[in-house]
Symmetry: C2
Subunit: 230 residues, 2 copies
DNA sequence: TATAAAAGTTAGGCACATCTAACAAATTGT
DNA sequence: ACAATTTGTTAGATGTGCCTAACTTTTATA
């Protein structure tokens, strides 16, 4: 049985490695910064996780998840995203409110609870941020999400998710009436700064900066718009 | 902000005091036994709770909850019972399975979560064991529950709850097809050992020992059966 | 009332998760 | 290649929650 803290270290390692499409390894300082603790603290924990055969790490070397550690990390990600979905779908939480509560709920120990919750939610594949929810065997559903910034003029897109979860960004989207599963047409892209002008049923004119468009994940609804979708 | 452990001490004190209709005070050994820790451990915690003005306690004296401590304890009881209701009503947990998971869930910190959960469950007044759920101001709903053993021959009763939560007892009830809100007629009470013979639609002949009848809480559906109901 | 039993306290210690401060190794840049 | 910077490690300390063992106070009982 892992402690609350050990679980958070595994999950942090998993996220650091997924969000790094180069080598799946992390450093002590990097992990410390991510978790908001000091490198010395991480070092103590590395010893414990190594003893439990969840990671590999040798002195002055890089940290890697072992298969057992990755499996546990994915279980925690699964719980986190199922709880986020529950809060959003069933309890009417806002987009930006679900994460912090899920940070607590993800540590509840009860396999039955998670299976029942999954069933209650109808076995969802994606959470309210559009992130994939691993199934009970740890398989991640695939989606052809791509940043909105890759779309071209004339594209008809649907919002599948976001790649940043900050309250600031999520509120910015809400304020601009951009929500999960909303559909938009890319009307115009300003050449100089690539600001996008979108239209939707609810709102005929929405301006989205390139910075924001990079964080908004969409899929293209037409195959003939030339946006480079496979 | 209280720790997980501090919350459990407050809740334990509350339960010890409610379940004792004499003086609302508890002893060190009593509390230690209830929580499954050693008296020395309790002593350390008493110091902390006293510093936080949640209890009163002087050397070799009895422990009492202060108003602030009682209020916090009731909040935890509220969370516990709402979660039990959620697990039972929405996730199809069995009677005896809800408690252990609720022991974990009761410590999740999010006022919004609890208010939303309460609304989602339609502001229930009683949990799956028939125990009262305090409202958000800490008021306990009243019910005229009384042990089944107080009923007399001819009484028509409905099961409102149980005063013991062990898996053994709850499974005993399930095995005998006795469930929450089920209705029974008291057909016969054996004079010598007060064993009760009940009948219901599902099952025309159920034998209930006096030991069990003491733990089953009912309300009488007729006013003329002479069972002493007010 | 004296003694035995029960209840409560204290001292000292341990595991966990964290810190600071000092140090060592590896990497980078001139 | 050497120095400077970054990265990682170690030692020693703290607070929480728990323990055992020894002690003291209160309560029960002979
Ligand atoms: Mn977490
Ligand atoms: Mn998410
Ligand atoms: Mn608890
Ligand atoms: Mn209950």
């Amino acid at each position: 049985m892992l402690s609350y803290t050990e679980e958070n270290y595994l999950k942090a390692l998993y996220h650091l490695m997924v969000e790094k499409d180069t080598k799946p390894e992390a450093g002590t300082n990097e992990l410390a910064a991510y978790l908001g603790v000091k490198p010395a603290t991480v070092n103590d924990m590395l010893k414990k996780l190594k003893d439990k055969k969840l990671i590999t790490h040798e002195r002055y070397g890089k940290i890697r998840l072992q298969t057992s550690g990755r499996k546990l990390a994915i279980e925690i990600v699964r719980k986190h995203r199922l709880w986020e979905t529950f809060l959003y779908e069933k309890l009417d939480f806002n987009w930006h409110e679900v994460h912090d509560v899920a940070e607590q709920l993800e540590h509840i120990q009860s396999p039955k609870l998670i299976e029942k919750l999954d069933a209650f939610l109808n076995y969802p594949s994606f959470d309210p941020h559009g992130d994939p929810i691993p199934d009970k065997d740890g398989n991640m559903p695939k989606s052809q999400r791509r940043p909105l910034s890759k779309s071209v003029e004339g594209c008809r897109v649907v919002i599948l998710g976001v790649s940043e979860h900050s309250e600031l960004f999520l509120n910015y989207l809400s304020d601009n009436h951009i929500g999960l599963n909303d559909k938009f047409t890319v009307e115009r892209i300003t050449p100089f700064d690539e600001t996008m002008r979108l239209s939707s049923k609810k709102n005929p004119d929405i301006l989205v900066s390139n910075k924001a468009a990079n964080k908004i994940q969409v899929t293209c609804l037409r195959s003939d718009c030339g946006c480079g979708k496979m």
